[in-house]
């Protein structure tokens, strides 16, 4: 940066400012709109700042009996998917990152190509299978299907993380008399913690935001997740922008918080997963 001319510096900061505004503006606009009284929302000269703040839209949302149900559903599904997905991805990632097994490349290729299929290609047979198992319109059905699409990338992230931990550390533990599994539990897992937290945040974000499976498999209002409830709410009350914005804000805050808390680890994990191929 030091060897740049003043003009270059100005251009760099100008571009940075544009990127910043583009990235945060929709979020900003959502929050501002959710805090404006209805009369101000529908104005042909919108102000970029809520002149009069009101929580009426939030109250309206919270007083809708079912809102908490949707929130809880989302939390349950995303929570279970995160726990199970991270555990399964940990084991699989360790196996692929540490052992030389027959057919490893085939397995890796399968895992990668799973990412390739547009979800729509899988939806129809999954719907048929789930209806045979009586799992359509249940949260269990959602958890199972979410695991499928969250797993490949999680395994990929974990694998690259485990391969970055020197094998000597484990070997030392084995020489000290640990079994392979003990060495994994006591030595490798603690070291892999940053990778594990990145993977679980990623799984949580994916499961929290997912919509296609939810709209396909869930018919009961009481089983809706937040994105599905949002879409329904939006298509029914197109005119209630204040309410829709408040609900969208509440749906966005958890993932944003999660992301901000773990952003450094997540970014690293993502990059390792995509760069270390």
């Amino acid at each position: 940066m030091s060897n740049k001319s003043p003009l270059q510096k100005v251009l760099i900061y100008l571009f940075a400012l544009i990127v910043f505004i583009v990235s945060v503006f929709p979020f900003w606009w959502m929050v501002v709109s959710s805090l404006k009284p209805a009369a101000h929302i529908f104005s042909s000269t919108p102000s970029l700042w809520p002149d009069t703040m009101t929580l009426e839209h939030y109250l309206k949302i919270f007083l809708r009996a079912n809102f908490w149900v949707y929130f809880t559903n989302s939390l349950i599904v995303a929570g279970i998917v995160t726990l199970m997905g991270t555990m399964i991805a940990c084991l699989a990632g360790y196996a692929l990152g540490r052992f030389n097994i027959k057919g490893k490349n085939l397995i890796l290729l399968t895992i990668l190509s799973v990412q390739m299929f547009p979800v729509v290609v899988l939806l129809i047979p999954l719907f048929i299978v789930l209806s045979k198992l009586n799992l359509v319109n249940t949260l269990v059905g959602l958890v199972i299907t979410y695991l499928t699409f969250a797993l490949p990338f999680c395994i990929w992230m974990m694998r690259s993380y485990f391969s970055s931990i020197p094998a000597e550390i484990e070997e030392a533990a084995l020489i000290d008399g640990c079994t392979q599994m003990q060495a994994f539990r006591k030595v490798v897992l603690p070291l892999a913690w940053p990778g594990i937290s990145a993977t679980s945040v990623f799984a949580f974000i994916m499961a929290w935001n997912e919509f296609v499976f939810a709209v396909t498999f869930i018919q009961d209002d009481r089983l809706r997740t937040l994105p599905l409830a949002l879409q329904q709410f939006f298509s029914r009350f197109t005119a209630d922008y204040g309410g829709v914005m408040a609900a969208s804000t509440i749906a966005t805050i958890p993932v944003l918080l999660f992301f901000i808390l773990f952003q450094r680890k997540l970014t690293k994990g993502l990059v390792q997963g995509s760069v270390n191929t």
Partner: protein
């Protein structure tokens, strides 16, 4: 490492899930696309084998070709713009200006944004009467945007969808490319500087050639993601006006879960898969002057 069966034990849950919920369904979609499979078949498990009937019907339907054209054009525009913006932002972050670390975090906000909430916000920003975008453009003196109805015609509706998709997908590309830049040793650049290379030459002769494998993977990933676009369209336009913003994923979904014609929907899904594969194979060909590409 010792222990022959242990890794398989560790892999078994993941493999079980992936095979039973992805590999099996995929084969199943393939078979269903040759059958007359509807709600009745779903209940009874009975369906009639009809060969290529669905494919014939779909391929002779002009609407399918319209949707295919929409999908390819939207997908292609999104991939190109995403890669270009991602590259520019990565170069920006790489200059290490004051605050670049913070900006690197801030740009990921669109990426974590739930796409349904994002779609609703974008729809609101582009509202004809009260939208902040029309207001801003009018204030800049572009009077034609006063009350401009973005979602009343397919082309402008697609344009908004395109903007939103790029907004959501450039951060991942930018962050990955930035990591790629930082993996290149600085001695290469120093050597180039001694030979009198400027920034542009360094970018085109050192950075991009070295990052070819990474660029290929990012191209493939964003192609896959952008061909899957569904949520954004579902929430912003529901495929309207008059099915004008249908893409293949939405078409297949609607054929299956609105019309309940699972056979035809599977045929559309298979065709979509073939198109995607054709794209990816041509990418790999384009990039493969050197055999650098390893999965």
């Amino acid at each position: 490492m010792r222990n022959k069966w242990l890794p398989w034990l560790l892999l078994s849950p993941a493999l079980f899930l992936i095979v039973s919920l992805t590999v099996y369904p995929l084969l199943n979609t393939f078979f269903i696309s040759f059958r007359e499979y509807n709600m009745y078949s779903l209940v009874t498990g009975m369906s009639e084998w009809i060969g290529f009937e669905h494919y014939k019907q779909v391929l002779s339907d002009p609407f399918f070709w319209t949707v295919l054209r929409n999908t390819v054009m939207l997908g292609f525009a999104c991939v190109c713009a995403t890669m270009l913006v991602g590259l520019l932002v990565a170069l920006l972050l790489n200059t290490n200006f004051k605050g670049s670390k913070l900006l690197g975090i801030v740009i990921l906000i669109p990426w974590v944004f739930p796409s349904i909430a994002g779609g609703i916000v974008w729809r609101w920003m582009f509202n004809d009467q009260y939208g902040v975008v029309n207001y801003g453009l009018t204030r800049l003196g572009l009077d034609m945007f006063d009350g401009f109805a973005w979602f009343n015609q397919p082309f402008t509706a697609f344009f908004v969808i395109f903007l939103m998709v790029v907004w959501q997908s450039f951060p991942f590309i930018a962050v990955s490319l930035l990591a790629g830049f930082q993996s290149i040793s600085s001695s290469l650049y120093e050597a180039a500087e001694i030979d009198g290379a400027n920034s542009w030459v360094k970018l085109t002769h050192i950075t991009l050639p070295l990052l070819k494998p990474l660029l290929l993977i990012l191209f493939i990933l964003s192609t896959i993601w952008n061909f899957k676009i569904f949520d954004q369209i579902y929430v912003m336009t529901e495929g309207g006006p008059a099915r004008g913003t249908y893409v293949l994923s939405l078409y297949s979904w609607s054929e299956a879960f609105n019309v309940l014609n699972f056979g035809k929907a599977s045929a559309i899904a298979m065709l979509m898969f073939l198109v995607l594969m054709a794209f990816i194979i041509s990418y790999i060909r384009l990039f493969r002057e050197d055999k650098e590409v390893r999965a």
